[in-house]
């Protein structure tokens, strides 16, 4: 018993891998089997945490942290926002398929992806080195290696991605911006006396009203 315990403790990698693999697979199955979209999203969070654990087990600590911050902390939160605010947070009955032959196609795609991963895991033709060669260096110079790759070898693609993201954000803001107009002001004109009086009234009677400077901004969460 004692020796068994010792031998198990001596292999933390194996224990961590098994536990994380179970979490990842359970989460993945949950995503596609739950009827309620919120439950599916939560299963996806579970998968993300499992993958982050696997990253840590491979000494890729930075990737693990980014995985949690970006995917679990931002993207799936956005999923949940959309699900909750659109009011589709009820179990749906999928009696009719939206796209014909959706299920067989999904099965084929799954098998192809699995085959691809299995081949990539052993093949050398992509980069000349084996894809899955194990941990790169020890855990603390992980960040340095990523920084070196991103800011020297792959600087141009990295910056291009950054610009692309900024453009996407700006255009999203522009497209969703609604202009709310103060009707009285628009009709009477800013220079007429009536408006000045009305504004003074508003100031005196309703000091808790938001100031008119911010009226053209509509906050949508």
């Amino acid at each position: 018993m004692d020796s068994l315990l010792l031998s198990v403790i001596a292999k933390p990698d194996l224990i961590v891998f098994l536990a994380a693999a179970v979490v990842v697979i359970a989460g993945g199955v949950g995503v596609i089997t739950y009827r309620n979209p919120v439950h599916s999203a939560l299963s996806l969070v579970m998968t993300m945490f499992g993958i982050a654990t696997l990253f840590i087990e491979q000494n890729a600590q930075f990737l693990a942290a980014v995985q949690i911050i970006v995917y679990a902390g931002a993207i799936i939160v956005l999923f949940l926002f959309v699900i909750m605010l659109l009011g589709v947070d009820r179990s749906e009955i999928f009696s009719r398929e939206r796209i014909r032959a959706q299920r067989p196609l999904a099965a084929v795609a799954g098998v192809v992806t699995l085959g691809e991963i299995l081949i990539l895991g052993h093949a050398t033709w992509a980069t000349g080195a084996k894809a899955a060669t194990g941990a790169v260096g020890n855990s603390s110079d992980n960040v340095f290696k990523i920084a070196q790759a991103v800011f020297s070898t792959y600087l141009l693609p990295f910056e291009a991605t950054a610009i692309l993201l900024v453009i996407a954000v700006l255009s999203a803001v522009y497209l969703s911006k609604r202009v709310v107009v103060n009707v009285d002001e628009a009709l009477d004109g800013p220079s007429s006396d009536g408006v000045a009086v009305a504004n003074e009234d508003a100031d005196r009677e309703a000091p808790w009203e938001p100031d008119t400077e911010n009226d053209d901004e509509v906050y949508e969460v």
């Binding site: 403790i9 939560l42 980014v66 939160v77 009707v183 009709l187």
Partner: protein, 401 residues
């Protein structure tokens, strides 16, 4: 660098035991400090509001929290009919666990030697250190969000949407200020961050990040953390006048208590994180007696200052409006912290670059503010003239609004 000395050699039963003991000690310490913190907050805020506060259970009412806890345990646990049962039960734990996990990476003292092992006085010292704090605080959104949604009621949903929008917005400013600290440290590990702050300028002024980085990142971080914690003056999540009780309106009994436990635990851990990042953590002079005890005392004192400050904020500041909150986060804190990050980066290269960049930022900032003001004016004029041309009658527009 950033490597826990405990796990360097062969992992034996002794190491596993030490880890378990550390986790248990941290958990108990955190629970007890939450109990004291609730008493401290109630007592202090009573003093500030000219009341007496809890004074029945124990000396000076110090056991009041224990009494409240026992009471809550024995209350009826209600689950609303229209709630999503599983998520409703899960949500309090999703709030509580990240709150505890953040504390694990905070160094509360130096290192001690136990049974031939070098043990750092913190539960874990992973190389990703401070990123773990960011990760856990971004995961903490789930508890709040799901609690509000699963209650199956309107006010909790509004409260939780407010809370999660607020937490996501302020995370950006928080992350950028953490990046400035990481930039001068050159490591993500919390122990390295603390070690880099040891020493002093001219033998008097401590070399803490508070002074090294200029005071701006510290202030931004303090504001961002207060918003992240949903504490006053950023407690729109539970604005009683507007939302009944916020995201936990439908909760009762021990589940309700768990939310408050998590909130106070978060307050304590985030104060500890501020101390770690900007005030040198357990750094301080060793005066007399055993040398390992002084860092712990300094750490507790510094954390205590921030706990006091949070209570003070609550007593002194009125609650912000929602648009003010979003303006502060997106239009003030994020640009300033971004500029300061670039500035710190330039200072790392050379002082000349740094000051040149500082001047450029001031000019650019003034130009940008002017541009925004001009744009706003011209927009207003445009809208007015177009509306005059297109719809001269009042009735046509009145229906639109």
């Amino acid at each position: 660098m950033g490597q826990d000395p405990l796990f360097l050699g062969h992992i034996s039963i002794g190491v596993v035991l030490i880890v378990i003991i550390k986790v248990l000690l941290a958990f108990v310490a955190l629970m007890v400090s939450v109990m004291l913190m609730i008493w401290f907050e109630r007592k202090l805020i009573s003093d500030m509001q000219n009341r007496i506060g809890p004074n029945r259970a124990g000396p000076y009412g110090i056991l009041q929290t224990l009494a409240d806890g026992i009471k809550l345990f024995f209350k009826e646990d209600l689950i609303p009919d229209r709630s999503e049962r599983f998520v409703f039960k899960l949500a309090p734990y999703l709030t509580l666990i990240p709150a505890f996990l953040v504390f694990t990476v905070v160094p509360i003292g130096g290192t001690v030697h136990i049974f031939g092992h070098t043990v750092e006085l913190q539960v874990a010292d992973p190389p990703m250190g401070i990123l773990f704090v960011l990760a856990m605080s971004s995961v903490a959104v789930y508890g709040t969000m799901l609690a509000g949604w699963s209650s199956g009621s309107k006010y909790p949903l509004i409260g939780s949407v407010r809370a999660s929008a607020q937490m996501i917005s302020y995370e950006a400013a928080m992350g950028l200020t953490v990046a400035t600290v990481v930039l001068v440290t050159g490591s993500l590990g919390t122990r390295d961050i603390v070690a880099a702050q040891a020493g002093s300028y001219f033998g008097i002024i401590p070399k803490w990040n508070l002074i090294r980085l200029g005071v701006v990142p510290f202030i931004i971080f303090l504001i961002a953390v207060t918003a992240e914690l949903n504490r006053p003056p950023f407690d729109l999540t539970e604005a009683e006048q507007e939302l009944v009780g916020g995201f936990h309106t439908e909760y009762s009994s021990i589940r309700f208590a768990l939310f408050f436990l998590a909130e106070f635990m978060n307050t304590i851990t985030m104060s500890a994180v501020i101390v770690t990042l900007f005030l040198g953590g357990p750094d301080g002079p060793i005066l007399f007696g055993p040398s390992f005890i002084w860092p712990i005392i300094w750490f507790l004192l510094k954390t205590g200052v921030f706990l006091f400050a949070y209570v003070w904020f609550r007593a002194a500041l009125p609650r912000l409006r929602y648009d003010q909150l979003m303006d502060l986060g997106w239009k003030v804190l994020i640009p300033i912290s971004l500029a300061w990050l670039l500035l710190v980066g330039a200072m790392q290269i050379s002082k000349v670059y740094g000051f040149a960049l500082f001047a450029v930022f001031i000019v650019a900032g003034v130009a940008l503010l002017r541009a925004v003001a001009v744009g706003k004016e011209s927009n207003e004029v445009d809208i007015v003239t177009t509306f005059r041309k297109e719809s001269p009658r009042r009735g046509a527009l009145g229906g639109d609004q």
